[in-house]
Symmetry: C2
Subunit: 203 residues, 2 copies
């Protein structure tokens, strides 16, 4: 994953400060996970066994803590996606199999840590910085998808555009299917339908 240019506070140099940084993020993970955005910075510092001043030495404000959690979350997701795309480059499967792998990966990522996903998706304020950052990563993903579409000869007149729409559409559909399936329809049925629709859209 590419580095975030706007990293607000310097990262630690000495070993003890690295421990402090880790303790703060761990405490933030716990308390934000339990209490949502309402968790207070003072209690996070307390839980981390660190003074509130130290917390603000590494994170300029409360939202920066969430951003750090988001970065960690997204980095994990990127690793998984990296493997998926590596596999696609290696095996060069046909369109149906390619779609299946992409969808399965997306589903797995949404099932991995639903609480954290919901915290970041629903409760974290989408600051301009966060929105820009997210779009940046979305474009990266789209580029990898565009490469696959082109390889399969289904990129259309503008593969990057088509890939971006696939990324955005698929994310919304899988998110809804996995985290908020409507009464009367199973997640599995929805995911299967997602695959059917995109297969026809791209074939």
């Amino acid at each position: 994953m590419p580095p975030n240019a706007a990293n607000p506070r310097k990262k630690p140099r000495q070993r003890r400060s690295q421990a402090t940084w880790d303790a703060i993020l761990d405490a933030a993970t716990q308390l934000f996970g339990q209490e949502g955005y309402g968790a207070t910075t003072n209690r996070i510092a307390e839980r981390a066994g660190v003074s509130i001043g130290s917390l603000y030495q590494y994170f300029p404000n409360k939202d920066a803590l969430l951003m750090a959690l988001a970065e960690r979350h997204l980095a994990e997701a990127f690793e998984v996606l990296q493997e998926t795309f590596a596999g696609l480059l290696r095996d060069a499967p046909d369109l149906p199999e390619t779609l299946t792998r992409l969808i399965d990966t997306s589903v797995a990522l949404h099932q991995r840590d639903p609480a954290m996903h919901r915290l970041l998706f629903d409760q974290t304020p989408r600051t301009p910085d966060a929105v820009v950052r997210f779009r940046q990563l979305e474009d990266l993903l789209a580029a990898a998808v565009a490469q696959q579409l082109t390889r399969l000869g289904v990129g259309g007149p503008h593969p990057q555009a088509r890939a971006l729409l696939l990324v955005q559409g698929l994310e919304a559909q899988i998110h809804g299917a996995v985290l908020a399936p409507p009464a009367g329809i199973s997640s599995e049925a929805l995911v299967a339908e997602v695959r059917t629709l995109w297969l026809k859209a791209l074939a």
Copy 2:
């Protein structure tokens, strides 16, 4: 639009209280629009020419103010959509024309008041209540769409599921295309591509 069951404070009975209610919402629209979620309730009351106590007589907390703005915003959107669906029932056009009308409506709704849309989409905390409420409206929309898909014979084995995926996917794609078009791709090109993809997906 169906009423919201969890309406937290009673609506006004006398004329002057209706004026108070309107003044508060107008002030909220202005200040939230200018300053985002950071706008304070005290200043909203001041701008409305009303005491802070009166504000909290009608809105139990800050988020309820945003919810009221969202309800107003969504009600307007529902009116427009109602017209669109009425037209579809009247004219019973073929699939390409039906898709065009739905997409054009969605684009128009996203272009109508981008600032308010961004405020509600990005900055308003997605409380559990708000999430449930939004899903409720999404299902309603999906039901109307499912009716059209069935009419056109493209509902597949589960029209309601397919319609929900269309609503979620389309919303995400149009939102991205209109409010955050990537460098090098025009909104128009993206919207055209959205239409192409869904046409093939449903044909």
